[in-house]
């Protein structure tokens, strides 16, 4: 059985990661990010 995979683009990964990070900050799991 051949499985057709769908490639996730770099842009999509950046958006997903950014939203995940923002969610971590929003939920308080990432309390404070120093600079």
């Amino acid at each position: 059985m051949s499985i057709r995979t769908r490639q996730i683009s770099l842009d999509t990964w950046t958006v997903v990661l950014a939203l995940a990070l923002a969610l971590l900050v929003r939920t308080g799991l990432l309390k404070s990010v120093p600079w």
Binding site: I3, T5, T12, R26
Partner: protein, 361 residues
């Protein structure tokens, strides 16, 4: 079974191998970025001991310079090349995260007059820099980067745009270098001119926010004058920054339509395919922040995450900068940048003077 969203063992293994391949280069990016931050702290300490106030954000310059020094001397090791190339990923991540910093509501605090001035400034800057760049025969994408950098928010705008329009690394480095050099000069020149003209805090702050490109330099140039001027500068600059998404969107559409030599039957589909999806992420974060999803402290944290992502991108930009190529380009980008910035500073000074005269400030 439809398109697979499940992860097979083989795919997971390939993913791990790929990550392992990227690790050395990513470590190099992190190392150079951290060294840039360290050098900034050291130079600040030395300068502070001598009573000298340095501009914020020189870590950007350090990271780029260190990356350039390595790549133009010993070169990037073969084992690190793939990881160094991830800088574009960090760049886009930084841009999406930066979306949370741009609130539509922030613009309203400045009132109608500031919005009008910002709109005039952006239109004038884009048009003038484009005309100037073309007149000097610069490459079209470098012209776009200089125009966006000088009209909206400096390095952030250049970084937000270079991925969208597919500008090469030399053009990006040139535009960033020109904007940073001019930004550093503004820290000395703007307060001197403001004092010479006996400008009020509000007028000076508004002028700085309208004319200085990088947010850090605009804030610093305002604060050097006075705390009140610094606050107005930040507000005016935020107003300009909030336009970033729209300007990037416009340039994305412009270059998207220009890149098609052949006849395109479905223009909307073509534009959608070409359209950089991370811009949507940027707009999404901006929308979430605008409706109050994040507290001010949380937005600070997201902004710092963006800064860390940009730090890796800056290091990567340095690694990818070829000095021989830059030498071939000559001093024209700096001349164009300087002439353009002088014109923008004069125009915005005139606009602020007009606002003062009609009693709006």
């Amino acid at each position: 079974m439809g398109p697979a969203a499940t992860l097979t063992d083989a795919q997971a293994e390939r993913g791990l191998v790929r990550l392992a391949r990227l690790a050395p280069g990513m470590a190099l990016l992190i190392g150079v970025g951290a060294a840039g931050k360290l050098l900034e702290a050291l130079t600040d300490r030395v300068a502070g001991a001598h009573g000298v106030r340095l501009p914020h954000g020189e870590y950007i310059l350090w990271a780029i310079l260190l990356g350039m020094a390595i790549s133009n001397s010993v070169g990037v090791p073969a084992v690190a090349r793939a990881g160094v190339a991830t800088y574009e990923f960090w760049l886009k991540l930084g841009i999406v995260l930066l979306g949370a910093e741009f609130l539509i509501g922030d613009m309203l605090h400045l009132g109608g007059i500031a919005l009008v001035l910002v709109a005039i400034e952006i239109v004038f800057s884009l048009a003038f820099m484009t005309m100037l760049g073309r007149g000097f025969g610069l490459r079209p994408k470098l012209v776009s980067l200089l125009a966006i950098g000088s009209s909206v928010c400096g390095v952030s705008a250049i970084l937000a745009t270079c991925g969208v329009i597919g500008a090469d690394d030399e053009d990006t480095s040139y535009a960033i270098a020109a904007i940073l050099a001019l930004g550093a000069m503004s820290l000395v020149l703007f307060p001197a001119i403001g004092h010479a003209l006996h400008m009020s805090d509000r007028a000076y702050g508004l002028w700085t926010g309208l004319a200085v490109d990088n947010t850090a330099e605009a804030t610093a140039a305002g604060a050097i004058y006075s705390d009140a001027a610094g606050r107005v500068a930040v507000l005016a600059k935020t107003c300009r920054n909030s336009m970033l998404g729209f300007v990037v969107l416009g340039y994305a559409l412009y270059w998207g339509s220009r890149g098609q030599a052949q006849v395109v039957t479905n223009k909307a589909q073509f534009l959608w395919r070409k359209f950089p999806k991370f811009v949507l992420g940027f707009l999404l974060l901006s929308a979430l922040a605008s409706v109050g999803v994040f507290s001010p402290a949380q937005r600070d944290s997201i902004r710092n995450l963006s800064r860390w992502a940009f730090l890796l991108a800056f290091a990567g930009v340095g690694f990818r900068t070829n000095l021989r190529e830059l030498g071939r380009q000559g001093a024209r980008p700096f001349v164009v940048g300087t002439l353009g910035e002088i014109a923008i500073a004069l125009i915005t000074l005139g606009l602020v003077g007009l606002a003062v005269r009609v009693g709006s400030l």
